[in-house]
């Protein structure tokens, strides 16, 4: 093997690795570093404060609410999206023109900008003239405040996220279902296995790699939710929809408390890291790989 042949793989991965190192890996360490300073971005001096930013953050009721908002939002969005999508997939897993059309319709929000979706749903959820209040009015319910009331604002955002993500998730599930060999279904029906047993003992295990993929993707997406919040609620009313990324954004770019915002970023990093690790651990024991 010549020297060139030995070096070649390094040369091939170098551009990508440099980009990742510059714009993903290094920033993480830089953020951890910044989290220990008091700095307003403009002043030339950074003051070392140790873990004070973290202490302040965790003591602040607003931030605790941000943490709980983000968790509630993520758990609700991920379970609802994945769960409903699985049901939809079992229902719509048929090949016909009409089914194809329906699949296309429910998939369409996935390729549309979150800006459009946020603006559209702000209008749909308008408390006075919104279409949604008209629809629930037809069903006999009174008007809701949706985004304008702290008790419904977060769940309204979850609704939008589920609406956007459902089609993609369902289609990924359908792809998963279709990759299950037909003879397995046949064997199950020959054994007169009950539909529920077939589902829990057969379909679900075969789908577990798909479920794994979707839960991870949905979780990562939900944790970094920003657009809908920035456009639809700006974290309000009364902090009820403020989530981690929006919080970091506000502290960094509106209040210029870089150290403080970085500390919040580090906390988000730790949460995402722990979740990912737990998930991989659980899955390495349970996932039924083909």
């Amino acid at each position: 093997m010549t020297v060139w042949e030995k070096l070649r793989p390094y040369g091939m991965v170098a551009p990508a690795i440099i980009i990742f190192a510059l714009f993903f890996i290094y920033p993480i360490f830089y953020m951890i570093y910044l989290s220990m300073f008091d700095w307003n971005f403009v002043s030339p001096t950074k003051t070392y404060v140790g873990f004070q930013n973290f202490k302040d953050l965790l003591a602040e009721p607003d931030f605790r609410q941000v943490l709980s908002n983000t968790t509630v939002y993520t758990v609700l969005t991920v379970t609802l999206t994945t769960g409903i999508a699985l049901l939809l997939a079992l229902w719509m897993n048929r090949k016909s023109f009409f089914h194809g059309f329906v699949q296309g319709a429910i998939f369409s929000p996935h390729i549309i900008s979150l800006v459009s979706i946020s603006l559209l749903w702000s209008w749909l959820m308008d408390p006075e003239y919104g279409l949604l209040n008209w629809v629930i009015g037809l069903a006999g319910f009174g008007k809701l405040e949706w985004l304008s009331h702290p008790s419904t604002s977060l769940i309204s955002l979850v609704m939008v996220a589920v609406w956007k993500g459902l089609g993609y998730n369902a289609l990924v599930f359908i792809a998963g279902l279709q990759s299950i060999p037909a003879d397995i279904y046949e064997a199950a029906s020959l054994d007169r296995s009950k539909p529920w047993t077939t589902f829990t003992k057969l379909i679900l295990p075969m789908l577990s790699p798909t479920i794994f993929f979707l839960v991870i993707i949905n979780m990562i997406g939900s944790f970094q939710v920003f657009e809908t919040i920035a456009i639809m609620t700006q974290g309000g009313p009364v902090n009820s929809t403020n989530t981690l990324v929006y919080y970091i954004y506000e502290y960094g770019f509106r209040f210029f408390k870089i150290g403080y915002a970085s500390a919040a970023g580090v906390i988000l990093l730790v949460i995402v890291g722990i979740l990912t690790m737990i998930y991989f651990k659980l899955l390495s024991n349970r996932v039924h790989y083909r």
């Binding site: 991965v13 690795i17 800006v115 559209l120």
Partner: protein
């Protein structure tokens, strides 16, 4: 069942009983048929409801975009405006430098795509096909990057770009995404699935390695490349967060920012203008989607998972 019933009592069953049997049987069959028809109707109704849930917001958007402002403030809402106000679209377009936004969007999304192709193809090939020292560590970096939401590290990246004097430039919006961990992950798997025999045959022909890669290996993973290209372009075309955070003036701002800004400009909520602007942003992507729906869904879903 029938056969057993007949022998009960040891005597043949009379004609009357036989009639009763067939009538029960046909009743059962009618019932079953009715049940099946009901299920089919229910299924159809469900599917239609589903289409409505996803199509109605868009229809509503179009309807609103053609209304006068007072018409948007009617409750219960009216679906069809009395006379469509096409002027709303011009008004939306004129709220900001939309031509510039449009050009910026194209430059940035295409620039990212080209650089990504140049970086992910060789990297994923090397990870899939070569054994080299430290490859696990380097692939670890890719996996870590895959797990880091870009929205988590925007603050340090902002400071970095500001130090490089790259804020408010196209390059500043392109460079952080010049490679993609997701792309490398996808493409590496595709490269790994190509059989060794094919490669050995090419190597026996003494073809240069880079020629083998470009002429034989890359065409074999073309579906995955197309998948990724569609995915990447749409994602960056739609992106709001990154351009919002990395720009402080209009120089490099993109379409989604321009549309979102309409809302900030106007004091009153002019939903008709806003929905017109929104349609300008959505329409091209929706049209492309419905023209090549199958390929796009395939791109996002079928090729992406395996």
């Amino acid at each position: 069942m029938k056969a057993i019933d007949r022998t009960i009592g040891g005597s043949p069953i009379g004609a009357a009983a036989e009639d009763k049997w067939t009538s029960i049987r046909s009743k059962k069959m009618i019932l079953r048929k009715a049940l099946r028809a009901a299920l089919r109707a229910l299924n159809l109704a469900g599917l239609l409801a589903l289409v409505l849930i996803f199509a109605m917001p868009f229809v509503w958007m179009i309807s609103t975009s053609l209304k006068t402002l007072p018409e948007t403030m009617i409750f219960p809402p009216e679906w069809i405006p009395k006379s469509p106000v096409w002027q709303n679209y011009a008004d939306a377009w004129n709220t900001g430098p939309f031509l510039r936004y449009f050009v910026n969007s194209v430059v940035i999304a295409v620039g990212i795509l080209i650089l990504q192709m140049l970086t992910i193809i060789p990297a994923s090939y090397a990870f899939a096909r070569y054994k080299f020292k430290g490859s696990n560590f380097l692939f670890g970096i890719v996996m870590v990057t895959l797990m880091i939401p870009a929205q988590l590290i925007f603050l340090p990246v902002y400071l970095e770009l500001s130090a490089f004097k790259l804020l408010n430039t196209h390059l500043g919006l392109i460079l952080p995404f010049a490679s993609s961990a997701f792309g490398i992950f996808l493409l590496r798997q595709a490269f790994m699935q190509i059989s060794d025999e094919l490669l050995e045959a090419a190597r026996l022909d003494q073809a240069a390695e880079w020629k083998i890669i470009i002429k034989i290996m890359v065409p074999m993973v073309k579906p995955v490349l197309v998948t990724f290209a569609l995915f990447s372009f749409i994602a960056h075309w739609n992106d709001y967060f990154w351009p919002l955070v990395m720009t402080t003036n209009e120089t490099a701002r993109t379409l989604p920012l321009g549309i979102a800004k309409i809302r900030e400009v106007e004091g009153v909520a002019t939903w008709n203008i806003l929905m017109a602007g929104n349609l300008i942003l959505v329409a091209p992507i929706l049209v492309v989607f419905f023209l090549s729906q199958r390929q796009i869904i395939k791109a996002f879903v079928y090729n992406g998972v395996k």
